[in-house]
């Protein structure tokens, strides 16, 4: 009798150990010293701030490192102003072009298409509509930069994804595409 009971108990234990794995919960850890960070980590919760999260926006009136003040307001006047007066600070060389092309492929081509004709994959699949061809818009480097910062109508801002220099590299590349299209 004892043998049989033991057999059953062992089988049961084996099954329990085997079935512990639950894909929706993290696994056990063994002596997790120095596993959990003591400092705040990216996006963690924190009770130091009122809204309970660690990621905070910059304090009003301060400028984060690597950013710069953008003087043109988010309005139709600001747009027209930037179109004429905002000039590119970079001298667009081959290296810039390669980077601009790569970034354009990541951030713009899905809507604007690889050629800038407004036939990106989202347009072709009719998920996102109303993307114009660059050829149909009267745009300049300055106006593209302005649109990347604030967005325009149905297009959202891309300033969070691209740094200042990268925005200019993309703007130059987009103008290049426009030249191709108009030709």
């Amino acid at each position: 009798m004892r043998k049989e009971i033991l057999f059953i108990v062992y089988t049961f234990l084996f099954l329990v150990v085997q079935s512990c794995f639950d894909s929706s919960a993290p696994n056990y850890q063994y002596f997790p010293d120095m596993y959990e960070p003591i400092g705040y980590t990216t996006y963690s919760e924190s009770d130091a701030f009122n809204n309970g999260i660690e990621a905070q926006e910059p304090v009003n009136g301060t400028i984060p490192r690597g950013m710069m003040l953008y003087e043109y307001p988010n309005s139709n006047e600001g747009y027209e102003d930037a179109k004429i007066n905002l000039l590119s600070p970079i001298d667009y060389n081959d290296e810039d072009r390669a980077i601009g092309k790569e970034l354009y492929g990541i951030y713009c081509a899905l809507c604007h298409g690889n050629k800038g004709d407004g036939q990106g994959i989202l347009m072709k699949r009719e998920k996102f509509l109303g993307v114009p061809s660059y050829a149909d818009r009267d745009i300049t480097l300055g106006s593209i930069y302005h649109v990347l910062i604030y967005g325009r109508n149905a297009m959202g801002s891309h300033s969070g994804q691209l740094s200042i220099k990268e925005r200019w590299q993309v703007a130059h590349y987009a103008m290049e595409l426009r030249k191709e299209l108009i030709k």
Binding site: I8, L15, S19, Y107, L129, G130, A154
Partner: protein, 428 residues
């Protein structure tokens, strides 16, 4: 007219059409008109107008009845000049939409505009709903299913054994109670078994080797079990919004870095902030893509998930404005190295040019995100032993590479040979 009537019977046309566009019947068949109208609408107007719903501008269906044709021609070709000239209807709508400027479209002809309006008023026939039978077999859940069957079988087996033992015992009890003497046929057998056992017990070599064998095999299992402690391969938590990489990066081919943009420049890949989602989802309010009925994900389910996104960013869909009432989405973090390890995405993604998929698996096929790699030290080290360094356009590497390749006598250096196994590189 006869031809058209037949078409109407097919349910392709609606009566509204005849009235609004009879004059062009001889130029265009209606279908073509709708098709060209749709194309024009999608390229020029869809950014601000939706057919049925208010977007940045008003809904387009019904405008052809609201205004007369000439007014519409001149409005669409140049709305600003109409507002300037003080046309009462134009000023009214301009005020209603907070003086948002509509682009001028001098390039559109009257015919183009007629096509656009025809498309806007066109109500497609209700399609005959094809009954799609859910396919059984296959799918992600088979693994689980098999496990369940196995467990059930084992349970049944256990219960059967227990019952057999019980039955045997009661039978013996009944037999002895009714005075039947059970001639134990087992006795001689037992003796044989016993004698084998005792012979075995007396043979020390056999005993020791079988004990060692037992310990080795159980040790193997214990070791295997202990080695997976702390490894989260396959970890697949439920996220607050059912966000599907399969739909975004698989079907719609959105680049990983569009959302995980900091992978290019920093240690973290990061989870996109919700304003990145809204770059697209201001316009994509409902889901019209493929369904996954097997797992119970139909269009309504997906659309509902998009509404959750709207609730989180505080987007009022009906009025197309942000309400300012936001609540952060608490994504559950999946990949997480212990704090004593330093891993940098930019180094691997930008410098080494490694595809995300090499470490994160077939993300574009994941309906629900899970951890694909073990993320153990052995995993990192293995790859560092096998991967060569990409030297393109890097003067620093060029010099050090020449010196090191002379030292090791190889053509191409692996990460390990460049020092990628030094403890301090990963532990700090």
């Amino acid at each position: 007219m006869n031809r058209i009537k037949i078409k109407y019977l097919k349910g392709v046309l609606i009566p509204l059409f005849f009235i609004t566009s009879l004059s062009f019947n001889f130029l265009f068949s209606q279908e073509e008109q709708i098709l060209t109208g749709k194309k024009l609408f999608n390229t020029h107007c869809a950014a601000c107008h939706k057919v049925k719903k208010k977007a940045i501008g008003p809904a387009m269906r019904g405008v052809s009845e609201k205004y007369d044709r000439e007014w519409l021609y001149s409005w669409i070709k140049n709305s600003a000049s109409m507002i300037k000239s003080g046309d009462p209807q134009a000023v009214a709508i301009w005020e209603e939409y907070n003086r948002t400027a509509m682009n001028a479209f001098p390039q559109l002809s009257n015919v183009d505009i007629d096509n656009i309006l025809a498309y806007a008023d066109y109500i497609p026939p209700v399609p005959v709903v094809a009954q799609s039978l859910p396919v059984s077999s296959g799918g992600e859940n088979t693994g689980n299913y098999n496990d369940l069957i196995l467990i059930a079988l084992v349970l049944v087996f256990l219960i059967l054994t227990a019952m057999l033992i019980l039955v045997k015992r009661t039978l013996i009890r009944i037999a002895s109670a009714s005075g039947v003497k059970i001639v134990s046929e087992k006795k001689p057998k037992d003796n044989i078994a016993l004698s084998i056992l005792s012979a075995f017990a007396k043979n020390q070599f056999l005993v020791i080797s079988s004990v060692i064998l037992l310990m080795l095999s159980s040790g193997y299992y214990v070791y295997a079990w202990m080695m997976q402690v702390g490894i989260d391969e396959g970890y697949m938590p439920v996220q607050p919004i059912h966000y599907s990489h399969k739909i975004h990066s698989g079907a719609n081919k959105i680049e990983c870095k569009y959302c995980h943009s900091s992978a290019r420049v920093s240690k973290h890949s990061g989870i996109p902030s919700l304003n990145v989602c809204m770059n697209c989802h201001k316009n994509i309010a409902e889901y019209n893509g493929e369904e996954d009925l097997e797992n119970g994900y139909d269009r309504d389910f997906y659309t509902n998930e998009i509404k959750k996104l709207y609730a989180a960013v505080g987007w009022d869909e009906d009025n197309q404005v942000y309400t300012g009432k936001t609540q952060p989405v608490k994504w559950v973090r999946i990949h997480n190295l212990p704090d004593h390890v330093y891993f940098n995405h930019a180094q691997h993604v930008e410098v080494a040019n490694i595809e995300c998929q090499k470490c994160h698996g077939p993300v574009e096929e994941m309906e629900i995100m899970y951890q694909y790699s073990p993320l153990t030290m052995g995993w990192c080290i293995n790859c560092h032993r096998e991967s060569n360094i990409d030297l393109k356009g890097n003067e620093y590497y060029k010099k050090i590479h020449e010196e090191l390749s002379k030292k090791y006598g190889v053509e191409k250096l692996t990460v390990a040979q460049m020092g990628g196994l030094e403890c301090g590189k990963c532990h700090y």
